[in-house]
């Protein structure tokens, strides 16, 4: 076994920023990667939304029609859920969870990097269709047989392959966070002392572990049918198209909790901090989170009430669906109870929390309406559904991401975002959001179907659609304000305080900027809201369990990037063998072989990381506050 080298700081800082980010395995830098990529795709998805709303502003509009509209429609949904919501939540989970539990990194830093690059390349593959003339157009849900090549061309193959790759990354992230939270908590941090954001990250990661495999299976079968002559969804070969829906929604329903639970976790941090009061009903919040996850696996058929499975199946799943409203409601009441009697500070982050409570509850109640199959027969495939899921998804996930952006910006980038601009962002986005989507409930009830690129005049749809489009543009303005805020924040030096909000949890105990190793000496946790506990006892720092010592760090490596690249090559080869020329099969096989080679290379090379010398650590620690 080779002795592990000590690497001095000057040597470590020698790489260029590009190479640093291409090879990093540090959770804090990976958080940056997820954040910027997610933000980029948010702009792409938002643009797709504006294109659709522009088309729908007037009846019989010809701005964006037919196949092109369907492609934009499909990509909007796919992008927002897979390339925006989850990556941005992962950005915050990566940035903050290890700090909150007193760990130095995730359990598997290499796999963490791999997860990001799989997402990066998966996202690229999904978009290559725009260049070959065949973007995905079968809806983000990819129903069969529409998603087969004879009806949708090869676009849905780009969808399937891209999703398979980034889905693999997500699955690995789920495993990584569970292992981290189970194994790497600092001493004294029992499960019932973990911050709620850690709990929701844990439960969401468990959901990921068990919800993504059915999607993986479904995507494999979709790929087999599209590219390899499979007959699973082809009725003439004996296939069954409903099987796709089952597989997709067994994934799809837990998926919405995967994006909602971390959002709830974010608010469970923001609300206590800005109410200067601890979270009300900690145990109930934990149990409610677990119940939501448990029941989340029992309700998938509520997306299929109108498929014709019969009243018994519909009834069972309707009952399970209604039950989920209970733990969710408990959470809402507990957030309200947290604020009640607290000393409220209306920061930008807190604005989003308040907006969330109102908006998400509205989305939730329409959900209960849809949970009843006879009623759902009226709502299904109308704009009522579109309104519901935008109220819940944007109300929870997007608002949480915005809130977390303002809240954790100083921890991630060492700077503060401007609070005033943040509030302007909020008002444009919030008012625009309700303008866009509230009226869609009514449009749905008045009979406007979803997934159509135009509508006839004279049905009373004109004014509502126009209002909806204007709201969408207002949301766009809000996002532009956020963009300006971000650019302005980078004009400043990274000199924000390490604890600008007088925080309650451990991430605020680290120095600013957070050093590579997070904590020079691992802290001892003595209760919930560990940092607040110490503050209330009059201590300036967390107690520690060890003396300064050399810290062992993992090496950077280009292999995660390489492995994702080789898998992407394989994926494209298999698609192009059908779309263009059969010889691309060798590119596909070649990509797989190269991937195995990279894995082999990784296994046989001894990569034992390096040490940071304890003298250097002591020097750094003496400079600033914190552990």
């Amino acid at each position: 076994m080779a002795t592990v080298a000590v690497r001095a700081e000057s040597e470590r800082k020698k790489k260029s920023m590009l190479w640093d980010y291409l090879t990093t395995v540090d959770h804090k830098k990976i958080a940056h990667l997820y954040f910027w990529t997610g933000l980029f795709y948010f702009l792409v998805g938002g643009l797709e939304a504006l294109l659709m709303r522009t088309q729908l502003a007037f009846p019989l509009n010809t701005f964006l029609t037919g196949k092109a509209y369907n492609e934009v429609l499909t990509m909007h949904g796919t992008t927002m859920i897979f390339l925006v919501a989850m990556p941005l939540l992962f950005a915050f989970m990566n940035a903050v969870v290890p700090l909150m539990i007193g760990a130095r990194d995730l359990a598997f830093p290499y796999v963490n990097a791999l997860s990001y690059w799989l997402y990066f390349f998966g996202a690229l593959i999904m978009h290559i269709g725009f260049l070959t003339g065949d973007a995905p157009q079968g809806g983000w849900t990819g129903y069969m047989p529409l998603a087969l090549s004879e009806y949708s061309g090869f676009g849905m193959s780009y969808y399937a392959m891209g999703l398979q790759l980034s889905g693999l990354g997500t699955l690995l992230t789920g495993i990584n966070f569970v292992a981290t939270i189970v194994n790497l908590r600092a001493p004294g941090m029992t499960y019932m002392r973990m911050p709620l954001f850690v709990w929701t990250s844990l439960v969401a990661s468990i959901l990921i572990m068990f919800a993504f495999p059915p999607l993986t299976a479904g995507l494999f079968l979709m790929i087999y049918d599209q590219l390899f002559g499979g007959q699973v969804f082809n009725v003439t070969g004996g296939g069954n198209v409903i099987l796709w829906q089952h597989l997709f929604w067994i994934f799809g329903h837990p998926e919405v909790y995967i994006v909602a639970l971390p959002a709830f976790g974010i608010f469970s941090e923001v609300i206590p901090t800005f109410s200067k009061k601890r979270l009300f009903g900690y145990s109930a919040m934990v149990i409610a989170t677990a119940l939501i996850a448990f029941f989340g696996f029992m309700v998938w058929v509520h997306h299929m009430f109108t498929v014709g499975l019969g009243p018994l199946a519909n009834g069972i799943f309707a009952a399970a669906t209604v039950i989920i409203a209970v733990p969710t409601g408990i959470k809402i009441f507990n957030w309200l109870a947290t604020m009640w009697g607290g000393r409220l500070h209306f920061s930008a982050a807190m604005y989003w929390a308040l907006g969330f409570i109102a908006t998400f509850v509205m989305g939730g109640v329409t959900g209960v309406m849809m949970a009843l199959p006879p009623a759902d027969y009226q709502y299904q495939d109308t704009y009522f559904i579109v309104a519901h899921f935008h109220y819940t998804l944007i109300g929870a996930t997007v608002f949480a991401i915005f809130s977390a952006t303002y809240y954790w910006w100083p921890k991630m980038f060492g700077r503060l975002l401007n609070e005033t601009l943040g509030k302007i962002h909020f008002w444009f986005f919030f008012i625009g959001f309700h303008m866009t989507f509230f009226i869609q409930h009514l449009l749905g009830l008045w009979g406007m179907q979803r997934r159509i690129f135009t509508y006839l005049p004279g049905q009373g749809f004109e004014l509502p659609n126009l209002i909806s489009t204007m709201g969408a543009y207002m949301m766009g303005i809000g996002v532009i304000v956020l963009g300006i805020n971000i650019v302005l924040s980078f004009r400043k030096k990274p000199d924000a305080s390490p604890d600008p909000w007088d925080g309650r949890t451990l991430e605020w105990a680290t120095k600013a900027p957070v050093p590579e190793y997070n904590f020079a000496r691992l802290p001892l946790i003595r209760g919930i809201d560990a940092l607040w506990l110490e503050k209330m006892a009059g201590h300036k720092e967390m107690p520690v369990i060890e003396d300064y010592h050399d810290i062992h760090m993992p090496n950077s490596t280009i292999l995660p990037f390489m492995m994702s690249l080789t898998l992407a090559i394989a994926a494209l080869g298999f698609i192009w063998k059908e779309e263009f020329n059969h010889s691309f099969l060798y590119m596909g096989i070649g990509g797989i072989v190269l991937t195995l080679l990279v894995m082999f290379f990784r296994s046989v090379i001894d990569d034992e990381g390096y040490h940071i010398h304890k003298e250097e650590i002591k020097r750094e620690e003496m400079k600033g506050v914190g552990v």
Binding site: F210, Y224, N240, P543, F600
Partner: protein, 219 residues
Amino acid sequence: MATTHPNVLSEIDVHGQKRSMEAVTESTIELVTQEGKNKQLGFWLFIAAESVLFASFFAVYLALRHSIPNGPKPQELFELPLVFAATAILLTSSFTSVMAVMNMRQLKSGAMKGWLVLTWLLGFSFLVLEIYEFNHYVHMGHTFTSSAFGTAFYSLVGFHGAHVVFGLLWLMALLIRNARREITPYTAPKVYTFSLYWHFVDLVWVFIFTIVYLMGKVG
């Protein structure tokens, strides 16, 4: 709960237990390092997720196993003696990997490697039998594209076979890599993780021979 600030480094009161800086003894070598513990937990988590992946393929197979517009039926295709032989071979290879880990824990490097080589040979024999079997089916008209049953069958059983192939490649890489190395807390988790994977592959096979082959014969 104390309000004094300990920062005493040798003894900290954690949940009422004195925790000292002296070494804590683990019961097995693969759990000595934090990395070893992480790998064991991480791999169990991976197995749990993969179980659901296989479950999905099983569910699809169960839904489509009677959908045979073209091609031979399972009763005509499956030959129980061959399947029994393959099962016995894979089962034995799982047992030999257990023996390998037992020897690893006793730091008996030579014996461990011997058992691992045996595992590889048995696994390879299983693969050979399976390839022979698939070749036979293809000649009888049961292919990946012949029917929904065909695609579902090869998706499930072929996916398992791919796991066997990957496992053999992994084991070979391990054997090559560790040929000249000792059993240490750094190398032990690698062998342990492989054995967990190999057991998982056998576990899935138990369900495959039951649900695909035995149920296929019965109807």
